[in-house]
Structures are given as structure tokens and as C-alpha cells.
Amino acid sequence: MRGITKIYRETGLHANEDVSLSVEEREIHAIIGENGAGKTTLMKVLYGLEPPDDGNIFLRGKEVIIPNPLAANKLGIGMVHQHFTLIPSFTVAENIVLGIEPRTKGVFFDRESAVKEVGRVIEEHNFHINPRTRVSSLTVGQMQQVEIIKMLYRDVDLLILDEPTSVLTEQEIVKLFENLQRLVKAGKTCVLITHKLDEVMQISHRVTVMRKGRVEAVRYTRDVDCRELSRLMVGKSVLFDFEKKEQDTGKTVVELRDVTLLKKGQERPLLDHLSLELHAGEIVGVAGVGGNGLGELEDVITGLRHIQSGAVYHDQKDITNIGPIAMRENGLAYVPADRLFRGSSVQSTIRENMIVTNPRRFLRAGVFDQKKIQVFAEDLAKQFSIDGNPDIPMGMLSGGNIQKVILARELANKTDFIVFSEPTWGLDVAGSEFIYKKILEIRDAGSAVMLISSNLDEILGLADRLVVLYRGKMVANLRNRGVSKETIGEYMLGLKDDFPKKKADAS
Amino acid sequence: EKESETAAAEPFNIAAFVPGVVAGSPLYEQLVEGAEIAVAEFDNATLKVVEGGFNQAEWEEKMTALAAGGEYDVIISSNPSMPFVSMNVAKAFPDQKFIFFDAYLDGHPQFSTHLYNQVEQSYFLGYLAGLVTKSKMAGANPDLKLGMIVAQQYPALDKMMRPGFEKGAKAVDPGITVDFRVIGNWYDANKAADLANAMFDIGVDGIITICGGANQGVINAAKERGKYVYFMDSNEYHQAPGTILGCGVLEQTKLVSEVIREAILGNVEYGKGTIYHARDGYVDFIDSDPLYTDNVPADIQAAQKKVVDSIRKGELILEVPEL
């Protein structure tokens, strides 16, 4: 790609400016850069999803024009998006062949040969997925495999992966990397967009660093280290170290007792007799492979989902199934993983987003006191250095700023326990660091914190206690002292279980 | 010719307000036709026809709009409800004169109303239907059942047409019953057909249909099932010869043209309601049409003629109840 420029019409934003990128055959080429650096945009241009305003694309020396993804596929270019593009109610095979379906008599969808051909591709590349299962019952990692298989089925040589690891667990990442390496060995080429520098170091041959829509540098991976990369990315060197005060834990704030969550038509409980205590001034880090109950725990402890048996206590008071409104009255604050849909109303103004958890306090004689809201909003914006006029829709903010608004709002009320779920997903280094600082501040102020995350560095760095869920069951509950990533990995995969007896008791 | 000269001096403008649409409603067609005939006789007379649509709630407003312009010497209309719709309009425009046909209200100084004896009209059809259902005609069956399908219920229907039809049928045989069904609107012809079929299924062999545009459904169903239809207000034998066995008519064209002629000449008496009977020649049964004489057996024709004639001559009197 040479001299690619892309301007988004609606905003007039120069997402790519004179970007050149060359990828060699059979290499794994990493692209890194802060949020909004233009990585995804560049790849969308390459994949025919966005027409470039300027610049040319060359494939094996010949100039090509790529009007749409189908054309890209024909040229051997495939892309796996950051957000999956699968139809949940279709089976794996149906999803994979969609768009280039095998047919019988020229008109009918040939389901049998779809299954057969997809099965062949799966086998050929050593994946383990049943082509007849519905996508809705797959784990996130498996869905990603389906996306990759979808591209392989289209016989692409160049595979673009946009932040493939952000939603995966350590184990799944390992698996993914194995797959990628095998593909490269088989003659394919990979472009990998990521925020995680260790991954770049681990797997890529070359790395392109982007900043503010331009290419900052191109390096052979063996010639650089993490520190240099992050300097290239943000312009200054950032250190990952958590200055954590030692602190005694206080009283029990929230307690889960034998909590069980069932889903109709599914035998295995989503949460299986889970018992857990959150203490004041303590961060409990919850880890687990996707699909093992992390999301469910998030929903249950915040009152969004009802449990079938067990109980939840707050300050010794039974608050089982009281629902999200009463949970908030009991002092819950909550920063959700899904910040765009659950955490904010993107069409509403920032102001309106800021007052949702406690609109009552801005009422005077039953009517909103607009001035008070204004003052409050400006105040929070200053405290959390949020860029943006409080009157603009939340959706116009950048990802990092959206997360800051949510955080500001959640901390504005008096809270004694706070749940963070994937607080730094998709955030850049500076943004993540800001969030980490806040989490530690909250803990030091004496709140109970639950940190649900698939980022093990984050958990190991911040948590006082580590909990691991496997198949909805707690398999570890340890103090975070000298615990290694590998140990946690073993728990996460179900190789180790500290509470095997409990399960026997229950059944 | 002479008349037009005498009144040539001043223009005389007439508005015909049709509470519904003209086409498909015989009485409205005849209202317009009659008015046109009268107007054509005078050089100074004009006619404007306004269709008010089916929503009766809008009639008053549209009527007021007509009166408000002050352009019309007289507003004519045809429908039992029109005097009542126009009451407030008349109050607001005390100089406006109205002539209503197919309606009755005595004593309002701005209104001249003209009502037909529709008991007689439907009695004719009821009697014929009674004769047919007891006959050996191809479509008739031994059941003593007749049917009536209407668009909706309204006073003139409940007080004149329904009792008239039943009375006529029972005059043939007191054991005859009349099955009565409502469509709910004036346009769902397919529902009308479904209702007709449902009636045929339980032994009805002749239906009187009073449902505007939806009549078509009844006629169609009857034609397909070889059953019979009795039609109100105009001569419609040609629509389905052999299926439409009888047509009871009102001579609205004649009456309207006569009354309008007098109105243009300034001879109409306002403040009066008049009722017109078969003996006056304004209500009749069509027994001269070849499509009637050819399709109805001679014995039935003879029996029917006896009754029709006695009403025409005023020997058999059927009173119009108070509306």
C-alpha cells in the first residue's frame, strides 16, 4: 500500500494520511498504535470496506483496485474483524460458506456439501470445531476460529486480524498463535493489529507503528524491545508498574453464598454454588476463560440477573435478587465491560449520561435544576480530564473518554463496593494507566472492589486476592502473593481445582 | 322554454351534498340525475355536486362550508340523517334553504323534506322473497328462511326496511324467518360474500342486500351458489339476471326533478315534511322489466302482482312509523 489517505466525510477526520505499508509473503506483520491511530481504517481500505481518498494498492507488484470484500477475497486477502461478523443462529458451516454457498441444481443451498467442505478446511488446518454446531453456543475463542476458517475457506493468502487477542484468554491466545504460526508455515501471510506489545515481541517478524494516522516507524521485531515500541507509539516511554500500598482488609461488604445460576435447556449451571466474600479496602480479581461464568458473575453481583438458588448479602443484609435499582441503593457502583451499550446511551448528551445513576439529587421542587447539572458535569469533566462539551452526544467521544465519563459517574455517588469488568479493553496505554490509578485510589479509600478481567497482567498487578472461575465454579481463591501467570493458567483451564469437594457436596 | 324566460333574470345556484359517494349508491345517483334534469331546463340554474365521504362526523363541517360561501340558493341532499346534520348549519346561516330527500323533519322553516314509504318498498321484496322460498324454483329450498345483509344499522333501516321486508315475507307464510347480518362497513364486499355464503349454508335461499359498495359481494355469492338476491332502490336486474329476482325502487329521479323545478320557480314550501307512497307513484316494484318477467315463474309473478297492485292502488296501506 502506497500513500493511502483516508478522510471520513462525516467528521472530516484524516484517519490515514499518506500511509505506506508493505507486507512480505509468509511473514507475520504486526501493526501497533494508540486508539484512533488509524490501524483499522487502513485495513478496511485494504479489504475494500472503505474507499481510499488517495493512494494505491499493489499486490505482488501489480496495482489492484479493491472495491469490496468479495473482490479482496478473490485477490486472496481476508480479514477478521475486531467485532465478529457472525450470524449467531446459523451453524458454523452456514456462517463460513455464506456469500459463496455451494449449491445443488444451481439454486438450492447445499447444506451437506457445505458441512463437508468446511469440515475439510477445518481438518486441513488442524482446528477443532464441529461445523454443525450453532455459533450462538460457541465460546468467543471458537467464534474467532470460525472467522479465521471463514477466510481460509475463501482461500486467502493474506490474513488480516484486527485486535484478535483483546477478547481472548491467555490459553486461547496461545492457541491462536499456534494456529497463526502453522498457517504461515503453510504459506500464508498475516497482518496482526494489537495493543499488546509482548504479543508483538512474541510472534511477529516485523512491526509497523502508527500514530495519528501516519506511519511512525517500521522495524524488524528482533531489533526492538517493548520499551522502544511504546515510546514510538506514544512518543514517550511508559512504565508498567503498580505502586500499591499494603493495606489491611476491612469488614465483609458483600457476600455471595452458594449462588447458582441456571439457564433453561442447559444442564450445566452458569454459576455453580459460588461462595465469595468482598472486603472493604480489598481488590478481588476474578479471572477465567471466556464462557466460564465471568459475564454471569458480573450480571449477578450487579443485580441485573436473578439467581435460582443461594443468597447475596450486603452488610449482613439479604439482598438476593433485589434487582439493579435496589443494588445501587445498597451502594453499588459498576463499570461494565460493555461500555457502549450498557455503560452509556450514545445518543444522549454527556450530561444526561452523567446523571443516570442518581437523577434525584438534581431535582428542585420535582424539577431538574439545569444549573446544578451543568456545574456537576463540568466538575466531573475537570476531575477526570474528559475532553468534550457536556452538551454533545456521548457517542461523539472517543473510547477512552467514554470510559472516563462512566468512571466519573460511578464514583460520583457514595459507594462501598464497585465492580469493574474489563475496564481497559481497547484502551491505550495512557488511558489504561489512568484507570488503574483510579482503581487503586478507590481501594485505598476503603471500598470493596471486584475486578473482572481477562487481562492477567492487570489482575496480577492490581488484585489483593485472586479468584478463578472454571465452568461456573470457583476453582481458586488465593492471596495475590507470588502467584505466577502459569499457575493461574492452570486453574483457568481446569487443571487445578482447590474446591473439588464442594462440588461433591452439592450433588 | 317559457319557464326559463320567466326566471332568466337571476341566477339560481344549487349545491347537491352527497353524504357518501355518488357512484354505487342508487339514491345518490338519482339525486344528481334528477337535479341535473331540472337544472338543464333553466338557463339560469347551476348545479354543484359535493361528495361528503363516508365519515358522518365530517358532514356537518362540509355542509357548513357549502353554506358559509353563501353562493347557493338551495342545498339539496338525500339521507335520513341530513336534516339533523344540518340543524346547526341552518342556525348559523338563517337565510340558507335546504331540501332533503329520503328524510323527514316537519316544521323547520328552512327545510323542505321528502320521505319515501320504504316500508312498502321492502314489503314488495319481502313478499316476493317469501313466494320464491316456498316455490319449486331451482335455487329455492324447502327451508322457510330468508336473509338480510346490511352495512350497518341505522334508524330508517331498523324502522322501515327491516320490518317491511319481514312483514312482506310473513304475509306469504308466517313461518318464514329472516336472518339478519351486519358487515360493519360499506365497502368490504368480500366479507359480504362470506356472510352471504354463511347464510346460504344454513338454508337461506334469498337475501335482501342493503350495503352500498359491498352489495357486489352478495350478488356475486348468490350468483355462484344459484341463490337469489332482492335489491333496493334501483333497477339492477341487468347486473345479474336470474339472480336478482326483484327490485324495489324509489322514483327519486322523478321526485327530485319535480321538486327542484318548483324550487327554481320559487314554489317550494319550506317548513314542511311530505311522505310519498306507492299510491303516489314514487315507490314501486319493477315488474315490467323482461329480466323479471323472463326469470320469475308465472304463478309467482301473478301472486306478486296482486299484492303490488293492491298497494299501488292504496288498498293495502302500510304505515310509516315515526322515525
Binding site: P69, L86, R103 | A193, N197
Partner: protein, 301 residues
């Protein structure tokens, strides 16, 4: 009166009554699966009704009439779709607008060409052929209930089968359903979701044209507003039928039965006609609520 004697004609009529609902709902299903709400069914039926009979009278051929009627209906459907999809209008309003357009246009054209805003009678229109097999006519049930309907009835059954095959057994069906579930996913595959949505709307135009043609051709006349709310019922049938062809068949049958029962009930029981006329709607609401309770139970433990 014994009940079996009643049951056969009742069911026979039910099949006739349900046909327009069924046809319109099957087409509407394709729009719905493409992720768009088709409020316009009512208007499209009306357009189909008007143009089919007018063209049939004009050409003297039922077949040509229906064909041209469907063509016009599909053009109007295309306008509805194009405005919703390409001009990005709110489908809800553009659907209402289509209904309004249909009621206005048919009357205005009738007035313009026939000088008439009421019934337009076409005397010498050929009769709609009925399907009867003399040999089978005597077979109980079959002869009494399923035979002797107009060709449209059998067309509608074929349409159910066809809809099933197209939706579940062709690439088009998969892509259409995919569009309804996640447009972005379809776009990412290099397919154009808008094309499938337009196709879904055109199909609804096709079947609504058929449904309308049935209403006027079996009558040999056009009456303004002859669709009389059937498009709305069809929309309900799509939901009640759980967005599946077979479900729609059942839902249409339920409504047809309710209406048929109410037609028979008017003579049999002494309840004001208006209440009986309201009965099909109430039955349908009740069915809808029961259905959603059942679905609700299924999704909650």
C-alpha cells in the same frame, strides 16, 4: 342443525377467508426477515386489488390482469423500499405513507378514469376459475373443505411451500435472514444487505398483488378500501406465526376461522353484531398474548 353439517362449510369458508391474509403475510415475512417492518401490506393489497381488476378488464385476460397488477404493486413496493432503504426514511412512516398513497391513488385514478369514486363494476370480466375434481369431490373432508376454491387458494398453499424452500433452502434465504440479524456481518462478507432488503420488499409486493387480485377478481368489481384491514391482519399473522411460513399458515387459519365463526355466529346467537365483529380481533389478541406467555415461559427458567 347438527354440528358436522355446520363444520364443513365453516371450514370451507375459513380457507377462502384466510387466503388473502396468508398471501400477504408470506410476502411480508420476507420483508420482516430482512429486518424491516412492513406496515405497507394494507396499501399494497389495495394497489394490487385495483390494478389487477382494471388491467384484467382492459386486456380481457385474467392472467394478464393479475400479472400487470402484480407489476404495479411491485413498483409501489419498490418506491416504499427505496425511500426507506436508500433515502433512509423511517420505515414506519414510509409504510404509513404507502398506505395513504394507495388509498388516495386508487380513488383518484378511479375518479379520473371511470368518473366514479364508488363501486367500479366490470361486467364482462372472465370468472375466476375454480378448482374442482369431479372424482374427488365426493371424498369427505377433501371434497367438502379443500376442493372447490379459486386457484388463488391453491396458489397460496404453493406459496407456503415456496416460501419455506426459499427461506431455509436457498442461498438467498440465508443471506436475507443474515441481513435481518446483522447487516454489518453481511456487508463484511462483501454482500449488499440493501439488495436483500429490497428483494424482501419486492416479494411482499408480489404476494400482496396476488392477495389484492383475489379480492377484486372474485368480485368482478373494485370497491374503494376493499382491502378492509386485511394487510394489518397479515402483519399480525407474521408475528403470531413466529416469523415462519408454517406458523403463518396456522396464524392465518386461526384468524380466518375466527372470522368465519363470527360470520356464522351472527345468525346463530343473539349478540349485537358489533360485538361479533370485534370477536376476531379479540381472539387474535388473546392468541398473541397466550403465544407470548408461552414464549416467555420458554425463555425463563
Amino acid at each position: 342443525m347438527n354440528s358436522a353439517q355446520f363444520a364443513f362449510p365453516l371450514l370451507h369458508n375459513t380457507i377462502g377467508i384466510m387466503t388473502p391474509f396468508l398471501l400477504a403475510a408470506l410476502g411480508g415475512l420476507f420483508t420482516e426477515l430482512g429486518g424491516m417492518l412492513n406496515i405497507a401490506l394494507e396499501g399494497l393489497i389495495l394497489i394490487g386489488a385495483f390494478f389487477s381488476v382494471v388491467f384484467a378488464a382492459f386486456t380481457g385476460s385474467l392472467f394478464l390482469g393479475v400479472l400487470l397488477g402484480i407489476a404495479v404493486t411491485m413498483i409501489i413496493a419498490w418506491i416504499f423500499g427505496a425511500i426507506s432503504i436508500y433515502l433512509k426514511a423511517n420505515v414506519f412512516i414510509s409504510g404509513l405513507a404507502t398506505n395513504l398513497l394507495a388509498s388516495g391513488l386508487t380513488v383518484v385514478l378511479a375518479f379520473q378514469f371511470f368518473g366514479n369514486k364508488g363501486v367500479i363494476l366490470f361486467q364482462d370480466l372472465p370468472k375466476l376459475p375454480k378448482f374442482t375434481i369431479a372424482a374427488l369431490q365426493r371424498v369427505p373432508l377433501l371434497g367438502d373443505i379443500f376442493l372447490g376454491h379459486s386457484v388463488f387458494v391453491y396458489l397460496s398453499w404453493v406459496a407456503v411451500l415456496l416460501a419455506y424452500v426459499v427461506i431455509y433452502r436457498t442461498p438467498f434465504g440465508y443471506r436475507l435472514r443474515g441481513t435481518g440479524i446483522d447487516q454489518k456481518a453481511i456487508r463484511a462478507l462483501g454482500l449488499n444487505p440493501q439488495r436483500y432488503q429490497i428483494a424482501g420488499i419486492l416479494i411482499s409486493g408480489f404476494t400482496c398483488g396476488l392477495a389484492g387480485a383475489l379480492l377484486t377478481l372474485q368480485l368482478g368489481a373494485f370497491v374503494p378500501n376493499i382491502s378492509a384491514g386485511r394487510g394489518w391482519i397479515a402483519l399480525v399473522a407474521i408475528y403470531l406465526g413466529n416469523k415462519k411460513p408454517l406458523g403463518i399458515l396456522i396464524a392465518s387459519f386461526v384468524f380466518g376461522l375466527a372470522e368465519s365463526v363470527s360470520n356464522y355466529a351472527q345468525g346463530a346467537i343473539n349478540v349485537p353484531a358489533d360485538f361479533i365483529l370485534a370477536f376476531p380481533y379479540l381472539i387474535t389478541v388473546a392468541a398473541m398474548i397466550l403465544f407470548s406467555i408461552w414464549q416467555h415461559r420458554k425463555s425463563v427458567v
